[in-house]
Subunit: 251 residues, 2 copies
């Protein structure tokens, strides 16, 4: 039986990134895409509890062999739950892939990321999972330079697995060729100027969430921020156990 | 100057849990509540990017001294950003508190939790942060049994701080008295039966996200699940660095 590759993202099933990711792996197994029906950037591990979900098969999919595409009205986490409980009817994927996200999810930003949520949800379900993101943010970005390394990473994870409770956060610089691949740790930093205040036509105040990221450790070559800033592909292994094992709080 | 205590939650500013938490700490400093204008359960670290936010001061607040209350149209993460960038105008809180959540956020469930998102967002901003949750889920739950330990934990964190990048996830069993307090690690487990399929009046299929949690390690007294199951208060230190430092992926 061909391996089963489950794909999702947070930019929606129609995004260029997930179409190109499907194309990169379609010869490696049966590909099932269950992705949001539109953009869900910044949705983190949210799931939908206040309204019900709908699921729709996209006729013709991406025009790729061995590939089925579904759009779900929910979040990336909802999509993985929908795939595992409903679409697959009990068959387990061999790997869960997220992305390719238009925009990186390095450093502390993984906490907000719907792309990483796909990989974390896959890991919670015991499936080896990899999230791919790129600093190319344009809607029609060409990710073809990523193809050889995406394929090598997927092949290696499918053949060797990942440690229990660990997934990969893979981030690419905005470039057409890369200096190499680095195994990284997530950078720490601050978001600053996160709110922009405006006045609406009726004189009422409203706010946009925005801001820019200021790295604390971006000068440290061990971080994913450094790798991206210097043209390297950053692979950061991420664990779902967030316990601070070195600290005990006594009260 | 009195310490500044920032509160938020994911059940909304009007929830019984956050009102009672404010009452428990109002004599310990100036209390600022910036909380969602309604329920946001399961929203994780999501922030709002597709629509702008509004902010509204609640006249009369909770009727407590030294306490101001604001409702924000966004998520718990948005509320902390709104408090830090807009309401406080640069003054930094001495502590960020989340909850009291109606429902526990132990084990892997912290990944989905808007309550924990408050504490993680506070930690990302360098402020010592504590999330409080209880297995009492009723909307009008009486959390008065939590008061002495909530106060001791808040006092200790305000006087001694927390390690950089670490916050506390405090969970209470559904009880009026407790066996004690345990420093725990987060339990691992699975959510099962996460989708309920229904047919709408027009014959179309829709789905509710639901399910139940099955612990992998709930028999292990080191876990938060064991502590709650045995009547203990579970304090789990949580770190925002999710790097799996013991693993390097070579490709």
């Amino acid at each position: 039986m061909r391996p089963l590759i489950l794909l999702s993202n947070d930019d929606g099933y129609a995004a260029a990134g997930i179409r190109q990711l499907a194309d990169m792996v379609t010869d490696m197994g049966d590909v099932l895409v269950v992705a949001p029906d539109g953009g869900r950037s910044g949705c983190s591990m949210s799931f939908t509890s206040s309204v019900p979900l709908s699921l729709r098969k996209i006729s013709g999919g991406y025009g790729l062999p061995h590939t089925e595409v579904y759009a779900c009205s929910g979040t990336p986490c909802d999509c993985i739950k929908m795939a595992m409980h409903e679409v697959l009817g009990g068959r387990r994927p061999d790997i869960v892939l997220a992305g390719i996200n238009h925009g990186d999810n390095a450093a502390v930003n993984l906490h907000y990321s719907g792309t990483m949520a796909v990989a974390i949800e896959g890991t919670l379900k015991g499936v080896p999972s990899v999230a791919f993101s790129s600093r190319k943010i344009e809607a029609q970005a060409d990710f073809s330079a990523l193809r050889p390394t995406v394929r090598r990473i997927v092949q290696k994870v499918m053949s060797q697995g990942l440690p229990k409770g660990v997934c990969l956060n893979v981030n690419y610089p905005d470039a057409e060729s890369f200096q190499g691949i680095r195994s990284c740790r997530m950078d720490m930093g601050d978001w600053v100027n996160e709110l922009e205040r405006r006045i609406d036509p009726r004189g009422r105040t409203y706010y946009w969430v925005t801001g820019s990221y200021e790295s604390h450790n971006g000068h440290d070559p061990a971080t994913d921020t450094w790798a991206l800033d210097h043209g390297y592909i950053a692979i950061t292994p991420i664990q779902i156990d967030m316990t601070a094992h070195d600290f005990q709080f006594e009260v």
